[in-house]
């Protein structure tokens, strides 16, 4: 359990926890006898290896603080969006497939709410911990920087498909809005048409297995013994 959370920080996290638990319950219920068992998971060595690969440091504990947890959550949420987006098109065009598609679209949307929430909280936290003088506010970009190092790592494993966070630039005190023109990048999407990225199942496997391209990878990263089900071995 993450120490020192404020009430508001708890409010955010309890909701996301419940949403994700609900999705597990919904999918298990929809799949019935076809539901796969939970595979072995690794939420310790996986983060350390990711931090090393991303150049953040030799280890990373996402449960150490609120900010660390935001970075940990950042590792997952945008990937969830791209995974559901890529997979939605694979569902069949039959009435049953359309029913599943509607459910998948609704879960896709929730993952996008989460992704936006995490990205917004990272930017808000950079302002909350800003260095301020009588004339200038300089947001603290330590954790935004970590998130972007993760984003770069994901891009290298998962075929690009990433929008790094744009750190909020320093601003003068008193604030003059007409002299301030940056756009944030809360949304992860193709910058030319603002349509969210999609990843193939293979690209998602490479990210969660933390392995660069190559066929025949059966596990690693967050799934030390691989995922369960037909889509569990990298194809390319």
């Amino acid at each position: 359990m993450v120490p020192g959370l404020t009430t508001a920080q708890q409010n955010y996290l309890y909701e996301i926890a419940q949403n994700e638990l609900d999705h597990v319950r919904f999918l298990r219920s929809a799949l019935g006898a076809d539901a796969v068992a939970r595979p072995n998971l690794d939420l310790m060595n996986s983060f350390n290896a990711a931090a090393m690969a991303a150049g953040i440091g030799p280890s990373f504990n996402p449960f150490a603080s609120y900010e660390a947890l935001l970075v940990g959550a950042f590792v997952f949420e945008d990937v969830g969006v791209t995974a559901y987006h890529g997979a939605a098109g694979l569902l069949s065009n039959t009435p049953t497939g359309k029913t599943y598609l509607a459910a998948a679209a609704s879960i896709l949307a929730v993952e996008a709410y989460h992704a936006a929430e995490i990205r917004t909280l990272l930017i808000a936290d950079s302002v909350a911990n800003a260095t301020t003088t009588s004339t200038l506010v300089s947001p603290s970009n330590t954790y935004v920087g970590y998130a972007n190092q993760i984003s770069t790592l994901r891009a290298s494993l998962g075929g690009g498909n990433e929008s790094p966070l744009t750190p909020l630039p320093p601003y003068a005190v008193p604030f003059v809005s007409t002299a301030y023109t940056p756009a944030s990048s809360i949304v992860a999407a193709d910058p030319t048409n603002s349509i969210a990225f999609a990843r193939t199942t293979d690209q998602v496997l490479h990210i969660v297995y933390a392995t660069a391209s190559g066929a025949g990878v059966t596990g690693g990263g967050f799934f030390p013994n691989g995922m369960n089900g037909n889509i569990s071995v990298t194809q390319s």
Partner: protein, 330 residues
Amino acid sequence: MATLETQQLDEVIVSSRRRMLALGGAAIAGLAFAGVKLAEAQSAPAYTDSDILNFALNLEYLESQFYTLATAGKTIDQLGLGIGAGTSATGGGTVVTKPGGPAACLVPWTIPAIQAYATETAQEERNHVSFLRGALTSSTVAMPNLDLYNSFNTLANAAGIATAFDPFANDLDFLIGAYIFEDVGVTAYSGAAPLITTPAYLAAAAGILAVEAYHAGLIRTSIFIADPTGSAGLQGYTQQISATRMALDGSSTVDDIGVGFQTTSTEPTGTALGAATIVDAQTGSPNYSKTYSRTTTQVLQIVTGNATPPPTGTKFTGVFFPAGLNGLFS
């Protein structure tokens, strides 16, 4: 920790609250919508993928005009986007703005992060307009007449928030204005996506759905940051707007939840305030944290403020679309 940002927020909230209170007691016009329900089953006309994308384009015209006015003080056509039918840039409808015209709609931002969020969102909504127009080519519908002034007053009245509401007045009122749109966009794309048959269009619609949900998450998180306990009144406004949307769309079950708090099974017992409701979806059985979907008719009921459909063969008109939407779904 009292940071500069929280101090700024406090100041904006205080001034915003004071102004809202000065507007007098809550209107009760919202009662006019209460209790009006209709059968959810709609007889769908024969449609093509283009009809669905054009329906979405009407909504994107509306959203892009709102955000572009707020961040640039200009309309999208003043920025060079086409608004005409087919591939014609001109010939689209008009936009009713607050007195003073587009320039008067530029929000006097005081919170840098919210200004940056709004600038981003404006660009993304303009990109959606350009994308859909590019995909529809000769089938593209023109921008219909839009109202971004009387509409907010009418909705605020109906929701019981105030007799008048200017979403361009300041950062926080802008968030409330944006709140009115984004969750509706999510439910509209979610409802329409399964109707699409062309795989490429379906993938694009799913990708735009995701972006609308990113926007909704951004807006709702920003509202929660500005009003983390509900004492500033912003959470209450979102709940009133959600209740109004639900009354308008005639859903017999819950399909809209404002920003606030909920009790969940995963939180430790005795938790203060429980979990937030950033995501517009009910947790637990039977909904299991899935966002809602709305039919095209339900979306029309919300954006035109009509709980009851018009006579067969006539368009829904009112609120944001004073002369109705363009296209088959109207």
